[in-house]
Structures are given as structure tokens and as C-alpha cells.
Point group: D2
Chain length 329, copies 4
């Protein structure tokens, strides 16, 4: 059975999802909706879909799923409308930058009985999935300490920073979700420290660009996260999980396996540049996961509720940093 | 412009090519031809192509290219027929196990003016392509010595061995092609040594399962190749190129970047199992290269002539091993 | 010129220092002092030194240096006595577990004008020294974030824990010293989180066995430290330094370069077991550094003052954990 | 019991051995003999030994062992004289460049009943010893193929080349010894190929600077060796052993574990420069092994007979290259 899909948002991440939705057996990208008519048309043409408006798409019974890749401040409304129309939802993170609004939208989807898949893409990365599988099969015993390194190659424009919700909600939220997933327990204590080291304009905009967080769960598991808006050597995405029986880690992916030896030492190839390269396979697998949800074969691995809980941690981290205290949840 | 393609051969490698041809923008898999009707039908159905016979396919003007993935002993005839019909050709290696027959078929394609792309897939592997790019950009100076390791995870059935032409023509021929490509010069001397270490039935069938070859070019460049039909740790495909200014190497790809540390030492994930996994991207890029050839934008990177020259080296290696001499070409 | 040395303490670490002092050109191990007569005699005999009491050793003009490797609670007194006798001092860390007493002993050595080398052995490790050299030569630009992982293979006996001063003063103090050294600035904010995950008896003894700390300096540099009393895969000692121009890291040393490939993946050899193996070279270089100090060619790289400052950080970390606040210094 | 040692030869390698002999418990370096009086005196003074002539040293009953590190063409005579005096012998490789002379000297030592340790230092390298231990404990099953890479950082002076016996006898002989050791069987077939790629003056001097060899044993085991007089990235010493159950390898040692990540990729530190650095520990262990021989606790791991057999292989390799044939032994 093939599920018709409506994509909302034809920007950078929308285009990624569109390509994967079109290539996933069992899904058919039927509509593209975007207020920017040119962007919608160009993307729809490329993939054999039609441009339409949201009402039309939601009224179409052949549309089983809605993929929301529009601006963050439209997510909650769109979730509610799609839920109202009984469509399965795949929404880019976050649901909303506001906790209350997030909870409302999730509740609407829940009431409507429609699945809500939230785009925490990293859980679909093959390397991190393999890491999780090793935890689950007991390879390292009981999980005790988690170390997450997540650094972007360079900072986004300050204009983006201003509407992003700040580093904790915009960037670290991915790592907070990974932490919850890997710890297998909810953090009860959050402590943060941060700085503006990369670009003083980010400080002027009221944000930080370098941050660290420590989490502690009820049973005493610990987690450290390290974030920076700059890593000149590429998108640095690494995780270590220490357990009673050993350590399992996942590293960066390189552009190739080529190594060069000259007088200066052995040089590996570059780390993949940014998330579009590193998480290309994760996005593919996310689309396939949405298909499996539509088929009724599985429930979402990353839910609105996961988004809500990660947002609570992000807010706690921001508060901890502001007030110089460990925030107990 | 979209080029209609006819695929001949719906076996294992044919299915790989079919999937890639169908997914390559600019190509349309129109026909599948295979004497085994069920195999042809199942593959054609899966990808929206039609089953037909060769005459029909060759008579169809919308068919611009023919992809030959049938049994080795049919290749030369099919090349000649496709060339006669004026179709561009993408043929799995080898053209033929016989040098004379190989030369004839190549000549026919040449006379017909049709491009003949021979499936030396490894040149399309992103890692080996990156290695070659480093050589070409002068990163290691003048190439002096090349080291090629190529080991299969396990031996094929003896029934396959019997019709394979033997290890030198069947397996090492890939490495001989890589050697020519990386040395940038034709070998003038070939010396081989070999054994049957893996399976005595292979010796009974008149073949070897472990072999080494040394090549020397006119300017004195040297190359070593090491082959085995068995590597219990996975498909071992590595290359080192030593030049006046350094060394560049390309290694194996692992199933994931996950590492496990327990009391026994740090363990990387497994090497990808075999050629379908390791060279998946190479096959994709090969299909895209065929599209570029059909577009008239490039000439084949791996030609019938390359197949002919590699076969000469393989025969020289077999002779060297048999007679205990270095064969001068 | 050869400097006579008196070693105080013939236990495990004393024996390490004794061997290195005896093997360092320019130093002569003249005396061993230890209340346990057998231990003193056996060590002295082995290395051609004499057993004596402290008064005799301090009265001997040929003794230029005193090496203190006795129980922690004797360090401050011995520093003061050696300083009173005008001897150069090489004291195992810490000076004392009490800040006041530490400051007093340092002041006595200062007043006496005798050099006081404190045994923060890790700064002498060739790998960490090479890491520091890369920072100093500007390879990574301005230092921004430091990540220190330090995990013991297994916990010490609870009897040791009870007199150790606790994880922050006993174990993390090494990492706090490394942090100060690598950041190149004094931390102004300290935040800690900790748990007892390895051995409940450690909790009963009032200590933790797993801990994390975040540091922030006046200019906003950040540092994370991760400690555990258990790493079943070996003594895990790694450092990453992120700067405006890149990252430099130093990893673990393995027992050999041997790798094993079987069906389970590629396995590196084990990490060196514990500090006696990993820091063997560091201890040798520390002894040579003491000789250079005695020669008047250099000042101590690791001073009593460094010990005092690291102890302040350790106490701040303990307080931060106890009170759930970030401690400003 | 302490064994008095007489060292013959105070040149570069003599100084290495002298330092290790002096530092090895159970050995006492008593005499240094060298026709260059200044070299002998300076080395003897440094290590508390005496300069003497050979007759005096051999007449001294306290001298139990003679270490021969003089010019190659003196080795055989010195072995015979030391054997005549009943001293245990540790001789740098080779016994002699001539097979007959080699056999004579070995026979003299055998007749005299004195142990003759030949300085094939690589067998004492901790990494290669660990590799061998993995073979012996069955980690890779039955050994099938061995791959040895051995490249010097740069060529020696042509004046040295002229008296060296040529690359096969001077350089590859180490690898031929390793091959015999690791294969666990005598090679029965030797094939070589070679070139002069590094320095044309080496060709003028009648030698090659780049060479490859293939060996085959009676049971069909295969081995490849690759040699070059130049590797601008450092002393490249690697071994791979493939067996029925897997592969075990030993790699190069780096100057430190420090890695640098900048825009160009991850860079490991340099490979150790040359044999004095790489094999420093091997030489130490060789001296300790000589002590164990003198103690009567073990027989030499590397004997004159090993030197003789490796020389036979080296001569066969030279002949194979010259005549373009596989030499059967």
C-alpha cells in the first residue's frame, strides 16, 4: 500500500525530506505546500508532486501523512491542523519553543489518535543506532556515564540565533534527547555552564556559543554534554557510553578512508562537513520509519513527548547557567 | 533527456545494476532480458520495466544503452550484437576469458563507434577514487611502489571455480586493472606465486586459492598484489601507494564507527562483508557514469581495452606461476 | 656534579622513584628512610644505598635533595624539615589535605629558598607534554574548551578511600592541575556532580566513585572533567583541547601495536593497565627534572603553589556537589 | 652472578649495545676494544669500563661474553677467536657476507660449544614479539600468508652501499629472517623483483634501492616482502600475518599519541624516525636475552644458523632478480 504524503515547507530541510519521501518505497510525495510559491513549485516539479494549499491537502483522503518542515513558530499550529484532519504527522523538531504550547499541540495529536513522529534525527543515525544496540544487548553492562560531544563547523548567522530560542533549546536539545535515550532514565538534576567564545555578536544577541551540561538521574547515572558553535575541522559528533562492563563509543565519519603519510605524520581524510552529510542516512531511515508508522507496523521512536521532555531539560540548563545552581526536576 | 536501457541478465549482479539504473536520474530501465523467465519477470515487475527478448529490445529506438550482466561466455556475442544495433554498452567484466575473442568483440564495438564501458567496479569506489585523486594532485610525488591486498571472505563453490577461468583471470584481474590505473604505466614484467591453502577441492579443480604477484613497469615502478579466497574477518580491500613524496592508502569500510572497549582491548566494528556491501556506492557511481557516457559528456573510464590488457597480465601471471619464470611482456 | 639524594618512603611509589633516581645521571641515591626497617633495607640494598634516619640524612652535606614519598599526612612536616635543612624537595602530591597546612609548608620552603617540586606526574608524561607543546606553538589557536577523561581500572580498598580525602582531593586533583595547565588561566567557577555507582561501600565511607566537573575561567574558557574509579578496559587517560583553530588530543597507550582481525571485528591490544605502566616515562622524566632543578638549570614545573591551587579547586568541587551550586572563586 | 662483558666496536651500534649492556642487571661491561683509540676511550669512560686489546680481554676469566659490533668483515674472525677462548658470543648481523665463511665461523662456535647469538634485533621488538605470541597461541589459526613492509627513511651514503653486499643481503635479510620466523617453515621458492628509483648513484654502484620478494614454503605458505631505501614519512616497519582463522598485524610506533584536527583532516604524530628509535626496546631486550644465555637459562633465539639461512635466501633473491626466474632451494 502506498501512502500519499503532503510536505509543508520547501526550504533546506524540507528538500532533504522531500527527496527521501519520494525515494522511500511505500510513500508517494503527493503535495508540496509552501507560502513561497517558487520554492514549492520547483521542488514539486523535481519530484513529480503537485503544489497545493494546506486545506486541499488535508481534505485529500489519499494523503495519509503530513511532514512539517516549515518555520519553527508554525509547527504547533500545523500539528493541530493535521491531527484534526486525522493525518499521521512527522514534524521537524521542535514542536514549539514554548513548553505550554508544546504540551497543547502534543495533547491535540494524542486526542486525535494520530501518531506524531518528532524529527530527532540522530536516533536514526546508523552509528548511534548501532551504539544503542550494543547498550541494549548488554555489551557494556549497566550504563553509568555518558559523554556527548556535539560541535558545529561554524556558527549560524546572528539573525538565526535571535529567533532560535538560544543554544540550549536550539542546539543542545538534540544532545539532551540523545542523553535521555542512552541513559535509559530521566535526568533529575541539570547543571550548565556556558560562554561566548566564537563570535561576540552572539553575546550581543543574548546567547552563548559554547556550553557544557551535566545531568544526573535518580539512580545516579551521570552525563556530560559539550557544545560549540565552531569546530574548524568539521561537524564533530561523538558519543561515549561507559558502563559497568566497558565502554562503547561512536565516532565521526570521514569523507573517505584515504590516509596520507608525508613528513608531517599520518593524516586521515576530513570529517564530514555538517549535518546534511553526516546525517544523510539518518534522514533516509527517518523517512522509512515514518512509512513503517503509516503501515501500522511500529510506533514512533521519537515522539512529541520526547520533544517536550528535552525542552524541559533545555530550559533547566538555561536556568542553571543563569542562576549558578543545579536545577532539580 | 532520458535514455532507455535494456538489461540482459537478472541474476545477482544484474539485480544490483537494475536497481541503480532505475534510480539514476536520466536513465529509464525499459527492458529486462533473461532466459530464466521468472527471474526476468520478478525483476522487471519490481522496477516497472518490461520483459522482452533481445531482438525486440535492440530494435527499440528508445533503447540507447544495453547493460550486459549475463553469464561470462555470452558477453562477447552480446557486445557484438548491441554494437551492431548501435547501442552504447555497459558490460560486466570480463569481455571474454579468451584473449582473441576479447579483441574481436572490442574491435566490433570500436568499428560500430559505440562506447563500451567495462565493469571494473573498483575504479568507481569513492575511497579508491579519492586515493587516485591524491596521486593525480601530486600528494605523494612520483609513484614508485603499489601494494594491493584483496581477499574474499570465503571461497565460491567449486562449480563456480571450474568455469571461472581460474583465480588470476577471475579474481586478480580486478587488482591487475587497479595496478595499471594506479601505476600510470603498463607493466612489462609479471611474476606470480600461488598455493591452494583454503580448500583442497579447489586444487582438484585445477585452481589455486591464494596468490601473489609482482609487477614491474618499464621505468622500474613495482607493484605487489596479494589475493586469497578467504578472509574470515570480512572482505579485505586495501591499497597503498608509495611515491617519492609519501604514501597514500585506502582502507576497509566498517559496518559502523562503533568501538567497544572491554577487558580484551578496543574492538572496531566488522569490516563490510563482501563486494555487494563494500562496492554498493561504486555500482551506483558506475550507473551514473554510464548515464554521462550516454549524454555524451564523458568517455568510459574503464574500457574494453582495459579488460584486454588486464587479461594479458592475468595470463602472464598464470604462465609465470606455472613455469617459475618472470614473464616479460 | 652528582647530587646525593635521600628518599623518604619505601612503599610502592617510593620504589618507583628510587629506581628512577638511581638511574638518572647526575643523581646518586644515598639514603633510604622508612619506619618499616625491612622495606627500607631491601630497597636500599637493591640500589646500593644506605638505610638511615632522617636527622642523619639531613645533616649530610652531600645530600642535596630530599624525595618525599611517605604517607600523605607526613608530607607537610617533612617539607618543613627538609626546607629547614636547606635541601631541595621533591614531594609526592599532595602537600597536605588541609589548605591551611598546605599553605604553611609551602611558605616555609619559600622562606628557606629551597625549590619545592610537587609530584603532579602527568605534566611529565611525554604525550601530554607533546599536547601542551602543540597548544603553546599555536597549532589550535586560542584555547577555548578542554575535555579531560580520567578513569582508574578499579577502585582502591575502602580503607584507602577513608583516609584519601575523597575523590575530588585524591583523584580529580590530578585533572584539576592538568586543567589549570592547559587552560592557561585560573578557573573562576567550579561546578560538580557525582555519584556512587561502582561500590556501595564507598558511599558508606562517605565518598563518591564517579564524578564530573565543569570549570570556567574569567575569559570564559570552559573545561569538563570526567572521573570514575572503574574502567574495566584499563586506565583511561585522555585529553582533548579545542581552540579557535582546531583540536588537539592525546590518547591512551596500548600494550602493543598488535591488532587482531577475526570474525568479530578488528581488535587493538589492551590499554596499559594503570599508572605505573602509563606514567612510567613520566616518573623518569620527573626525576630528570629534579636533577635539572638541583643543577640550577630550571625551576620546578609543578610547584607547591600548583598543589595549593588544585586543592582549592578540589574543595570547591566538593562544596559545589554538596550544595548544588556553582562555586565562584 | 655478574658476567663480565667485552664489547668490540665503539661505533654507532656499539654504543647502543654498550649502554644496554651496562644497564642490564647481571652484566658488567668490563672492556671496550676498538682500533680507534679515542672512540674506545670515550665510550669506556662514559660507562666505567676499561679500554684494552682483544688478547687481554679474551684472557680475562671474568669475561664471560663477547659482543661483536665491529665492521662486518671482521665478524667471522672475531667469532672464531671468541669461540676459541670459550666466550659466549653476541654478534651483530651478519656473520659474514660470504656463505662459506659464514658456515665456517658458525661451525667453530659450535665445535667450541659456545653460544652464538646473532643480532637479528627485530625478533626482540615488543610489538613483533607480541605478534608472534598471537600466532603461537593460535589466534589466527594456521599461518597461510605473511606480508612484510620494511622501508628506511632515506638511503645510506653510496660509499656504504658499495660495501654492504647489496640491498638483499644488507637490508632485506632482516625481513627474510622475520619471514622464516613467522612462517614457521623454510621457504623453498624465492622470487624477486627490484628497481633503482630513489637514487641513480645506487644503480651506478651496482645495487637497487626498491625491491619485492615472494617466498613459498613446502606446504604452500606464501610471503611477500616490500623494501625501499626511502620513506619520507619515517621508518616503516609493518607486518601482517593471515591465517585460517584471521589476521594479526603489528604497526608502526608514533612519536606520541597526540592527534591534531584542523581543516585538513586528523593528523597523527610522526612515525618514529629510524631503527635507533623504533628498536630501542628491542636492543634492550636483546641484551637481557644475552644475559639469560650467559646464565644458562635459555638458548639463543637468533643463532648463527639463522644468519646462514637468511643469507641463503638473500642470495637466492639476488639471483632470482638477476635471472628472471623463481629459485628453488
Amino acid at each position: 500500500m502506498t501512502h500519499g504524503i503532503c510536505l509543508i515547507g520547501a526550504g533546506r530541510i524540507g528538500r532533504i525530506h522531500a527527496g527521501n519521501l519520494a525515494a522511500t518505497p511505500g510513500l508517494a510525495l503527493k503535495y508540496v505546500v509552501d507560502p513561497v510559491a517558487d520554492a514549492a513549485k520547483s521542488l514539486a516539479d523535481e519530484l513529480g508532486a503537485a503544489v497545493t494549499d494546506l486545506d486541499t491537502a488535508l481534505a485529500d483522503k489519499a494523503v495519509h501523512g503530513v511532514v512539517i518542515a516549515s518555520a519553527t513558530n508554525t509547527h504547533a499550529d500545523l500539528i493541530e491542523r493535521a491531527a484534526g484532519a486525522g493525518k499521521a504527522i512527522f514534524c521537524e523538531k521542535p514542536v514549539d519553543l514554548d513548553l505550554m504550547r508544546t504540551a497543547e499541540a502534543i495533547a491535540k495529536a494524542k486526542d486525535a489518535g494520530t501518531p506524531l513522529l518528532l524529527g530527532f534525527n540522530r536516533r536514526y543515525d546508523p552509528d548511534f543506532a548501532a551504539l544503542k544496540a550494543r547498550i541494549d544487548d548488554g555489551s557494556v553492562g549497566r550504563v553509568e556515564m555518558v559523554q556527548i560531544t556535539s560541535r558545529d563547523p561554524g556558527p549560524p548567522p546572528v539573525s538565526y540565533i535571535k529567533t532560535s530560542g538560544g543554544l540550549f533549546k536550539d542546539m543542545m536539545i538534540h544532545d539532551l534527547d540523545m542523553a535521555r535515550w542512552l541513559l535509559g532514565e530521566e535526568p533529575t538534576h541539570v547543571t550548565a555552564q556556558a560562554s561566548c567564545l566564537v563570535d561576540p555578536d552572539i553575546a550581543t544577541a543574548g546567547d552563548v556559543d559554547s556550553a557544557m551540561v551535566m545531568l544526573r538521574t535518580a539512580s545516579g547515572k551521570l552525563c556530560q554534554i559539550s557544545n560549540s558553535r565552531r569546530a574548524v575541522y568539521g561537524y564533530d559528533q561523538r558519543i561515549e557510553v561507559h558502563g559497568s562492563g566497558g565502554m562503547v563509543s561512536a565516532g565521526n565519519r570521514l569523507e573517505s578512508s584515504v590516509r596520507l603519510n608525508t613528513g608531517a605524520g599520518e593524516r586521515d581524510d576530513k570529517i564530514q562537513h555538517f549535518f546534511l552529510e553526516r546525517y544523510a542516512q539518518a534522514y533516509e531511515r527517518e523517512a522509512a520509519h515514518f512509512r513503517d508508522i503509516l503501515d501500522g507496523r511500529t510506533a514512533p521512536l521519537t515522539t512529541g513527548e520526547d520533544g517536550h521532555k528535552a525542552l524541559i531539560l533545555a530550559e533547566a540548563a538555561a536556568k542553571s547557567f543563569r542562576e549558578g545552581i543545579t536545577v532539580a526536576l
